[in-house]
Amino acid sequence: MASSNIGPELQRMIDLLAKLPGLGPRSAKRAALHLLNRRDPLMRPLAYAIAEAADKVQACATCGNLDSINPCAVCADPARDRSVICIVESVGDLWAMERAGAHRGTYHVLGGLLSPLDGVGPDDLKIGKLVARASEEGVTEVILALATTVDGQTTAHYVADQLLGKDVSITQLSQGVPVGGELDYLDEGTIAAAMRSRRPT
């Protein structure tokens, strides 16, 4: 699909847009056209917002969250309970926990999961920093909020092993039937896990 009739600036923009998740060359062209038709209300503000975010957003030196201030808003918030650290895989997971509003402590973003297949070993994750944080005064609990996949649980077990001997309790998210879940539509693995972690009612 040669497109020599498109100017180099526009072509460059389309090529870059096509690298975004969910966009291919065709949808990138649509997005570019959409932006060009709305220069002032959308295109310039977007360009400015992207440039500003690229300059200012950084990973928090304490927890790894992304924010324009360092330490991030969560770590800087005096109302947060500093004795509880919740370990998540990525910033996306941190946002999901915040959306639920169920955790009032601080976080620690690992930046991935142990995965021999993808060549991710313990040194590629921020585990050493976590161990240092967990040894700090006043930390009483570490919550492992990692994916219930083989990689997620392998990582959880590894992190728990690294924290052995520290004076903290290590807990893990429970697993079971999702809210609004009907048994008929659940996969067998979830039902089996929910059955094992059943509780008296």
């Binding site: 969910g22 083989v150 392998t154 996969d187 693995g189 896990a193």
Partner: protein, 251 residues
Amino acid sequence: MEFVDEGFLLAARGHGENHAVAEIFTASHGRWAGLVYGGQGTKMRPLLQQGNRLRATWKGRIADSLGHFALELEEPVAAAHLYDRLALTGLAAACAVAAAALPEREAHPGVYDALRIVIDHLDAPDIWPALLARWELGLLAAIGFGLTLDRCAATGARDDLVYVSPKSAQAVSAAAGEPYSDRLLRLPPFLRGGASLDGASVEEAIDALTLTGYFVETRVFHPSDRTLPDSRMRLVDLLKARVLKPQNENG
């Protein structure tokens, strides 16, 4: 071309934004890879967990193509052992060794059946480490790296075999091996042909896994410049920790 088979999922890696390439150790077609449409989606991800037993329908336009799998869950093996670190490590280790050692598209029904026995016993921590070592021994034999464990490499004696020579992969009797005991691998009784698994201790299972691990590493992983998978090394560490603290069931 098309076939239906059951098998254990050994590995799955993302392909593009939504799909995945799954490697499955099938019962009668051996290790087989195929594309899984939507393999990174919420519906397929729980299926594509290491160790799960799946019913796989493979379709390819010609026999040589990568083809694609349609998958159904037969047994949620991964979910069943997710919270038991020893069993999960054992499962991951077995899958990693099988994925590296088995030639692609070569049927190994004996190795498959033996792996199934190991996986079926993953909730019995006193038995499966010994079973896993036996399975690895059988796997080595199946791919052409069998050990000679029924007579001594030095004297030809058939009794009292307690060592294995790392060089010749042959058993060595207690008398002949004594002067070199620090350089020989220990051979637990249950690995010798026909000996029963009953009463195999954790220490013997560790010896057995060290023995088979040595040959798996030097025969399977070293030629492609790799070391034993992390999970396989951690398995032996976890078992050793278990010997020190036998009470600590869940670690």
